[in-house]
């Protein structure tokens, strides 16, 4: 019996392949977009993890020279003898690659490609001329050194690892070490560091400042976009499955009348859907690979430029993607089909057309109430909610609630237009358009979500760009920045720049616990550079004068939000020194708290700390001259000087990359929505014939009917776009003011970009027009016999 029922169910798809194609392609696209974004995120995160594992960054305490210079090999040996369990590391550029030298015998387990406890080819690593471990693409770019290369996929991109002895030789730095990794378990009876090596300083493991946190904002936004894309896809699948079920209602009723048990029918239809989901999921994951592979190079470039995070730019197809892609396809289908299956399970065997229409009108009212409820819940969550999860729940309720309001709003607007129409064809046009709303509503909701996602994410990204560029103008106000190796060089730089620059601004900093959290205290010289360029989010009167007098401090937004410090709150800089907050400044992309005091106060509070960086004000035309002077007179290497203009240009270029990613996702999401409209129109085309035949018989040509159908789709898409705009702006606000603040502690100001919205609206119209062209063309070619058939059947 099961085979007989299955063959009947499958025969429907065979006879109506388009109806099968709709959920299949919709689900495949939804899975592809979601998985693609997840894959990009996962790939980037995997790169950070391998970078962290390779370099030991953030995981372990480290010892480095107080002046930032190299550590002599003898000092390392002295420390080991004094009981310190430390492992040496040397780093440097070897051609285009970052070469890292490790000592596997002393390195912590899991660090680098081979280790004592990790097994591996330790003997080969240490023997003879040694080996260099790197990714295949990195090995190919290594200068020829005669050292054999070993492919190691876990090594960070653009990085090669080898034994420290070999690295010292290749980098031409014999007996030098850059830093020492401090193993977690140290003997208690070791001599103090200050006693063994007073020139070295111990830095605690990093807390919250690693690359993964910095890039979190970017990934969170991508994830939100992926979720929205999947929601758009779900609407398509929901619509497609709903329509397919609707069109099979008669068959299901017949099957039941002939004796097929209801529960078996439901189970078989669920199995059928699961198979569909698995096929679509497989196609989706394959598509995801293509999407992710196409976008990853841009994402990699963005992350590298924004945060200095190295991402490989190459995709690896991981088994977990297959599993998660298939799982999300199955879950999505279950969510989309549960309503249809439930209504099928409750469908009376003898139900006729009338009860169905009755229940539909009731469902319509129910959905309107649900939409209002969801929007209300979103508003309550926005006002009262706290936490990142609440932020995402608020986003979800806002979007679903907004989408559900679309059909009743469209119906209302069309009814108003119908009431005003006088000419008979116009009157019919409005009435007929209103009649099409239920059939097209899911596709239109998908379009609305796609459009809202585009408006929302574009607003967020553009606001981020504007804010960040403004922020760069504030922070990079000096024309030239110079990193200092030691106090002697600082003096040399001051002397070399004197008379050849407008101002020399030392940048002093020290790590400190403030209000129970790790923070950085910055010491800035009182200068117009800061007064004129820095824009404060909140400030007390005469803030700069009072700061200069040492009457208070400035704090960054992260500290203001996370530590609950506001204007006037006391900040303990030392046990005996507390000062009030005079102002709060935006500090985007920085996860840590920051406090600014004037230079004089800083030097009084932390007399041992010298400036590690200088900002030099100079006529932009004189930057090159000053660089040459610093290089020649103060011995500043080229790599230690940062040209403000170059940094800004690079930042802008990075944002263009970011835009490439978001634009690509925008276009893809709109294309998915356009596809939804196409499928809905094609599915509805068959049902339209009985509705259009009487109008055709009354004298409207098929060509005119087709033109009116095209116009109808454009009109519905225009109305949907107009209604999507406020939803998109609400989404942008939620992302900027709620999710971002909850996730990262800083709030981005929201800017509006009307031209961008117009462009997105035109794109949406284009997608709708392209989708409507084929059905309209088919309608214009409908054979008169088919239209006449309507009357024949009705006889």
């Amino acid at each position: 019996m099961t085979a007989v029922i299955l063959s009947a169910l499958a025969s429907h798809w065979r006879r109506n392949p388009l109806q099968l194609l709709t959920p299949l392609v919709g689900l495949a696209l939804a899975t592809a977009l979601w998985s693609g974004v997840q894959a990009i995120n996962a790939e980037a995160r995997a790169s950070y993890d391998s970078a962290a594992e390779t370099l030991g960054e953030g995981q372990f305490a480290q010892i480095s020279a107080r002046d930032g210079g190299p550590i002599p090999q003898q000092t390392y040996i002295a420390l080991r003898r004094a009981g310190w369990l430390v492992s040496p590391v040397i780093e440097g550029r070897f051609g285009p690659v970052q070469l890292i030298g490790l000592e596997p015998l002393t390195a912590p387990g899991g660090l680098g490609p081979v280790s004592v406890d990790g097994g591996g080819d330790l003997a080969a690593f240490l023997s003879g001329s040694g080996q260099i471990f790197a990714r295949a693409d990195t090995l190919a770019r290594l200068p020829d050194s005669g050292v054999p290369g070993v492919v190691a996929a876990d090594v960070a991109p653009d990085t090669a690892i080898t034994d420290i002895g070999l690295a010292q030789r290749l980098l031409e730095r014999p007996d030098q070490i850059d830093r020492l990794i401090v193993l977690p378990d140290q003997p208690l009876a070791r001599r103090p560091l200050a006693e063994v090596a007073p020139d070295l300083v111990l830095a605690a493991p990093q807390d919250g400042g690693d690359v993964a946190q910095l890039t979190g904002s970017f990934h969170l936004n991508l994830t939100a976009f992926g979720l929205l894309s999947f929601a758009v896809g779900l609407f398509i699948v929901h619509g497609a499955i709903g329509l397919a079920f609707e069109q099979r209602r008669a068959m299901v009723r017949t099957l039941r009348a002939l004796g097929a048990p209801l529960h078996r029918l439901i189970v078989l239809m669920a199995v059928e859907l699961a198979l569909l989901a698995l096929v679509a999921g497989t196609i989706g994951v394959a598509l995801c690979y293509i999407i992710a592979a196409a976008l990853l190079p841009d994402v990699a470039a963005t992350l590298r430029g924004l945060y200095g995070a190295e991402v490989s730019g190459q995709m690896t197809l991981r088994p977990s993607w297959w599993l998660s892609g298939l799982a999300i396809a199955l879950v999505g289908t279950a969510v989309a089909a549960s309503g249809a299956l439930w209504s099928l399970a409750r469908m009376p065997l003898l139900s006729g057309a009338h009860p169905r229409a009755f229940s539909m009108s009731h469902r319509h009212r129910g959905k309107s109430l649900l939409a209002l409820g969801l929007l209300l819940a979103a508003a309550v969550l926005a006002i009262l909610g706290q936490g990142l999860l609440t932020g995402f729940v608020m986003l979800g309720t806002l979007l679903v609630g907004g989408a559900l309001t679309l059909p009743p709003l469209l119906t209302l607007l069309l009814a108003l237009a119908e009431r005003r129409a006088r000419a008979p064809v116009t009157q019919w046009f409005w009435a007929d358009t209103r009649q099409q709303v239920p059939g097209l509503s899911l596709a239109l909701m998908a379009l609305m979500l796609a459009m809202a996602a585009n408006v929302g994410v574009s607003t967020m990204v553009s606001s981020f760009r504007l804010t960040f560029v403004g922020f760069l103008d504030q922070r990079l106000a000096s024309e030239l920045y110079v990193r200092v190796e030691d106090p002697a060089q600082a003096t040399a730089i001051t002397a070399a720049a004197a008379g050849h620059s407008d101002a020399v601004l030392p940048l002093l900093s020290v790590d400190q616990q403030i209000a129970g959290r790790p923070a950085v205290i910055l010491g800035l010289r009182d200068h117009a550079t800061y007064r004129d360029n820095w824009q404060l989010l909140r400030a007390s009167p005469n803030v700069w004068d009072r700061l200069a007098q040492g009457d208070g401090v400035l704090i960054n937004e992260q500290m203001y939000r996370r530590s609950g410090l506001d204007l006037g709150s006391e900040v303990a800089l030392r046990q005996d020194v507390s000062l009030p907050v005079l102002g709060i400044y935006g500090d985007y992309g920085n996860p840590a708290g920051q406090v600014i005091v004037t230079e004089d106060l800083f030097r009084r509070l932390f007399p041992g700390v010298t400036a590690r960086q200088f900002g030099l004000r100079v006529d932009p035309d004189q930057v090159e001259v000053l660089r040459d002077r610093l290089r020649e007179e103060a011995g500043v290497p080229e790599s230690a000087m940062i040209d403000q203009a170059a940094v800004k240009a690079a930042s802008l270029a990075i944002f263009e990359r970011t835009f490439t990613v978001t634009t690509a996702l925008n276009v893809l999401t709109l294309a998915v929505a356009g596809f939804a409209i196409l499928m809905s129109l094609l599915t509805l085309a068959g049902m339209r014939v009985p509705q259009l035949a009487p109008v055709w018989a009354l004298g409207l040509t098929r060509r005119r009917l087709a033109a009116l159908d095209l116009l109808r789709t454009l009109l519905l898409a225009s109305l949907t776009s107009a209604l999507a705009l406020p939803l998109g702006l609400a989404l942008a606000w939620a992302l900027l003011a709620v999710v971002n603040v909850e996730a990262f502690g800083w709030r981005l100001p929201m800017y509006l970009f009307p031209l961008d919205y117009l462009m997105v609206g035109l794109l949406a119209l284009l997608a709708a027009a392209v989708a409507a062209l084929w059905p309209a063309w088919r309608l214009s070619r409908t054979p008169p016999a088919q239209l006449l058939g309507v009357f024949r059947h009705e006889r």
């Binding site: 029922i5 063959s7 429907h12 008669a250 068959m251 009348a257 002939l258 004796g259 209801l262 065997l349």
Partner: protein, 216 residues
């Protein structure tokens, strides 16, 4: 006794009046009866109760000695694919299956598919040339003949026909009914024919008239 109804009542939810108010009759194996009445008199409801498509509020509906009233949904589904066949006014063919597949469908569902019988039926009903067509490619009369073939293929004990010629013109209706009568007579099954046509009802040996939910 093939079919026995005793004091069968039925009221639809939300309705104050009973559609059926205590209907009783019996039908012997191999006999045919016409059930007539005005629209809303309860003819189709009665047929649905006999066919296990709906349940009575009270009374007994027994086919082959088995009372359908206490059966649950699964039990009624098993009954429907067992010894009863229903022919609907709207034909209710499966649009995505060919004529051949539609005819064989119920017999396969019941596990009583006999290829020779299907061939014989298609020949008798003049469907030989249409076996690979889909229902939408057939006329109303041809579709109803497919529905009759589908119903008779599993050799049911009882055939229920709900206005089987309601969508057909007079000449086609006569042809279809003649075929149905002949085929049912050949199998020795019972037939209950619901119709509002006096002319068609007169062609059957026994007739019951429903009025306001009661047998007149």
């Amino acid at each position: 006794m093939l079919l026995s109804l005793r004091d069968v009542t039925k009221t639809y939810p939300g309705s104050a009046t009973a559609v059926l108010g205590g209907v009783s009759f019996v039908l012997e194996r191999g006999t045919m009866l016409a059930l007539t009445g005005e629209s809303g008199s309860g003819k189709s409801t009665l047929l649905h109760l006999i066919g296990g498509l709906d349940t009575a509020d009270s009374g007994v509906v027994a086919v082959n000695g088995v009372d359908l009233t206490p059966l649950d949904d699964a039990g009624r589904a098993a009954f429907r694919r067992g010894r009863v066949g229903v022919i609907f006014q709207q034909f209710n063919l499966i649009p995505s299956l060919t004529v051949a597949a539609n005819i064989a469908f119920q017999a396969r569902l019941a596990g009583r598919h006999d290829k020779n019988r299907v061939i014989a039926l298609t020949d008798r009903l003049g469907l030989r040339d249409h076996l690979h067509k889909y229902p939408e490619q057939l006329s109303g009369g041809q579709q109803q003949r497919v529905a009759i073939a589908r119903t008779l293929a599993p050799q049911p004990d009882l055939v229920l026909a709900d206005e089987p010629t309601g969508n057909l013109d007079e000449a086609t209706a006569d042809t279809v009914l003649s075929l149905l009568q002949d085929l049912v007579a050949e199998t020795g099954a019972g037939l209950v024919l619901v119709t509002h046509s006096e002319r068609l009802a007169a062609r059957l040996p026994r007739r019951l008239h429903l009025q306001g939910g009661h047998l007149a």
